[in-house]
């Protein structure tokens, strides 16, 4: 801002186990997006080290880490299929091969038949699916997702969350998912990292012991409610 820096994060230290679905939840402005940018190699940390699969990540490495943003950020001049192919075309692999992989991803996210549509012809949920397909097309072992469903209405959010779990279960990827929705956090996660308000610190680590595959009626259970309450209490405490 006007000279000087504002610390966004403080004393962050954690391990994300491979193959697990980790959710980071916290109030707005707590620095979760900054954290994700650093994990993706899009921003450099001022102190400390970040290791992904045993190596540092000073700049974006799409073969290791796929990033999915809150705004789908699909390129409006490309069709859905071309958007999914885009990362592949940056590396210059063969065109036929691109098509095949992109088509496979399109089907994986449940949008077969919509490949030739342009982003402005797609709904919010569909755009995010394309964005997810794009993140998956290079088959990175790690997937970072920054509040991807925040711009969607609640019903679509629930459907998309469910879809995401389905897609994830067919792969063995490590997912780090950011949200400010407590329900979404508990529903999706194996482990929830709770962050405080700025400067963000990790104030709790909650293990979600619900069985997989997750289902909607789990949201009505006591276990679910208690987990959610716990997160909420922690966040409120940190605000005080």
């Amino acid at each position: 801002m006007y000279g000087g820096t504002v610390p966004a994060l403080e004393n962050i230290s954690f391990n994300v186990p491979a193959g697990r679905f980790t959710v980071i939840v916290g109030p707005s402005g707590c620095g979760k997006t900054s954290l994700l940018m650093m994990l993706a190699g899009l921003r450099a940390q001022t102190q400390g080290t970040i290791q992904c699969l045993g190596r540092p990540i000073p700049q974006p490495d799409p073969l290791r880490v796929g990033v999915i943003f809150q705004e789908a950020s699909l390129y409006p001049w490309l069709t859905a299929l071309e958007n999914i192919e885009f990362p592949l075309s940056l590396r210059g692999t063969e065109k036929k091969e691109h098509r095949r992989r992109a088509q496979a991803m399109l089907e994986l996210v449940g949008l077969s038949g919509f490949g030739e549509r342009y982003p402005h012809e797609l709904s919010g949920g569909m755009k995010q699916r394309v964005s997810i397909a794009r993140g998956l097309v290079q088959d990175p072992p790690v997937l970072l997702m920054d509040e991807p469903f925040a711009a969607l209405d609640e019903q679509t959010r629930m459907t998309m969350g469910h879809e995401l779990l389905r897609i994830w279960s067919t792969t063995s990827k490590t997912v780090v998912f950011i949200t400010h929705s407590l329900t979404e956090a508990v529903y999706l996660a194996d482990e929830v990292l709770v962050m405080s308000a700025r400067p963000g610190r990790i104030i709790d680590r909650i293990h979600v012991d619900l069985p997989r595959p997750r289902s909607y009626d789990m949201m009505a259970t006591d276990v679910f409610g208690r987990l959610r309450d716990r997160i909420w209490q922690q966040i409120r405490k940190s605000d005080a």
């Binding site: 974006p60 796929g66 990033v67 950020s73």
Partner: protein, 259 residues
């Protein structure tokens, strides 16, 4: 009645009136020569008008190089680079308030009565609006686009070629359309004021000798030229920028640049 139909009717009735009013003497032929006499003159002096049109088009083309080439690049730079923008944009917006036409006598004094003064004038006349329009357009590009590209491992040349340029196409096309229209206006005005050739010159020349059919023949050509350019650039824009969001608010060519 459908709006399109109404417009067509208006157009047709204008053509009919153009022919009919002078004939019936409602307006003297001096004020409004009949369409047929205008077309007759155009046919008869076809070579003269063709040559004049050629001169005008040449001047417009070169003026467009200055205005669109320079304007788009300058606009992209000013719009894209925050420091430049903060420094220069208000200055340019203020300069836009000055009627550029006051510079025309300067250009005729410097470059003479030939094409150079017209090209210089029309070039500058169109430059500022194109620059302002491009600067505004560049700023509407979603900054997330580049972030997404970087996350996918795009190199800088790839970012420019695969993201920035396609994202800028609507703005660039708008700049070309605006620049061309304004270049035509600038050239025509300057040819009417002080010239030795060109369609605008023919308007003035024939006006002073009170040859109305020839004046209107020239006016008709200019009308056709500007309308043709407008329709052509719109068609090209639509064809190439098919993904552009529909339903943009109403904005006149020049007022567009007062962001």
């Amino acid at each position: 009645m459908k709006p399109v139909t109404v417009r067509r009717l208006i157009l047709i009735s204008m053509v009919i009136l153009w022919e009919w009013i002078p004939r019936t003497g409602l307006l003297p032929e001096l004020f409004l020569p009949s369409l047929s006499s205008t077309l007759a003159v155009l046919w008869k002096d076809g070579a003269i008008y063709a040559h004049a049109l050629w001169v005008t088009l040449y001047e417009v083309a070169l003026a467009m190089v200055i205005a669109c080439g320079g304007g788009i690049l300058a606009g992209a730079a000013v719009g894209g680079l925050a420091r430049l923008r903060i420094l220069l944009l208000p200055v340019v917006s203020s300069l836009y308030a000055v009627p550029i036409v006051i510079l025309y006598p300067v250009f005729t004094a410097w470059f003479g009565v030939g094409s150079e003064s017209k090209i210089a004038f029309a070039g500058i006349y169109a430059f500022f609006p194109v620059m302002l329009s491009t600067a505004a357009g560049i700023q509407t590009i979603d900054p997330q686009f580049l972030l997404a590209a970087r996350s996918m491992g795009a190199t800088l040349p790839q970012q420019i070629a695969r993201v920035i340029i396609p994202a800028s196409l609507p703005t660039i096309f708008a700049g070309l359309r605006l620049g061309g229209a304004l270049a035509i206006i600038g050239v025509v005005v300057s040819e009417m004021l002080t010239a030795a050739a060109g369609i605008g010159y023919l308007v003035t020349l024939n006006r002073t000798i009170l040859d109305s059919p020839r004046v209107f023949a020239a006016i008709l050509l200019i009308l056709l030229l500007s309308i043709a350019y407008y329709l052509l650039s719109r068609a090209v824009e639509r064809r190439f920028v098919v993904w552009q969001s529909a339903g943009k608010p109403l904005q006149p060519a020049a007022a567009q640049s007062t962001v």
